[in-house]
Symmetry: C2
Amino acid sequence: MTRDDIVAAALRVIDTDGLDALTMRRLGAELGVAAMSLYRHLSNRDAVLAAVVNHLAAEAVTDLEPGDSWSEALTRFGTVYRRMLLAHPRAVPLLATHPMDIDAGLRLMGGVLDRFAAAGLSQAEALTAVQSVAVFVLGHALAQVGTPPGTPAAPPETPEVAEYYERWFDAGLTAMVSGFAARHRR
Amino acid sequence: MTRDDIVAAALRVIDTDGLDALTMRRLGAELGVAAMSLYRHLSNRDAVLAAVVNHLAAEAVTDLEPGDSWSEALTRFGTVYRRMLLAHPRAVPLLATHPMDIDAGLRLMGGVLDRFAAAGLSQAEALTAVQSVAVFVLGHALAQVGTPPGTPAAPPETPEVAEYYERWFDAGLTAMVSGFAARHRR
DNA sequence: ACCTGAACACCGTTCAAGT
DNA sequence: ACCTGAACACCGTTCAAGT
């Protein structure tokens, strides 16, 4: 049983039964092991959650194409990040409260930051724009699927509802990206 | 002991000792009463949290001046909402996972929505813009002060750090508002 | 080295009982 | 009507003990 096995099992439990179904006893059972064995690999429950967060950050980055301009890269970043969040709705509250490692965050945003640098923008300007999009995406996902911990699984969305959120997301993301574009066009 | 007393005591506990210090036993002690007495007034712990959320929404709206244009109203809305969140940092994760009542939300956003209507914009356009700002503000506050539940109180920010977040917030909010302004200027 | 059972100090919540 | 103590079924985590 490796650390990665534990993280994978934890994510499985979260996806199927939600965040507070993830008890140490349940996680142990999922791996055919006593709960206490987990403490050999991860120091406590919080460390398990942190590992899941970083795993998800890595998952988001896999299909991120850089794009031509920084504004296109920024839009794609938001879209890919959102896709990951919607693929793991029960994990969204976890991402909201559990900051990701700095290096996991940089791996996630790295490609986009490069596009800003290539356009001659400072790293501070780049970080501001990318992180602004990131918090918008997360906040939006929370509004869409972030159910309070302890509540049963949300009923699946109707297509109409899903489309409502999709349009709202596109409008907000476009507004933010074009706002930054106007700022840097000067 | 009224329902409002309970909500006030709950917020007091959250502000001083964080979200998971808020146990039913602790809340009872805060009010000089047995934990079980609380169930006479609120059906369970989740109902206490929901009541706190709506209380905070009402708190944010108190000092919200409408502003001249809808874009100014939108900026003020974001600023006031942010001020409330920063006044209750340990409650931010709660706002993130616990959707507010529809009517509490409308009371919070109502004044701003009116400004959009006065400018001849549809309610759908208005909601998209206001809610986009709202999720940005919440997401940003999460990044700034949203510490995982169960962690000790974050050390107070240095002025430098606070200013970093302030500048980031201003840039993101401005980008979003001006992006919506450009969209509706057509 | 890796795993475990029993135990401790907590939770939220129910229920029968008190005034 | 309003409050309560004891109890139940859980938690995360520690620790001494097993292989």
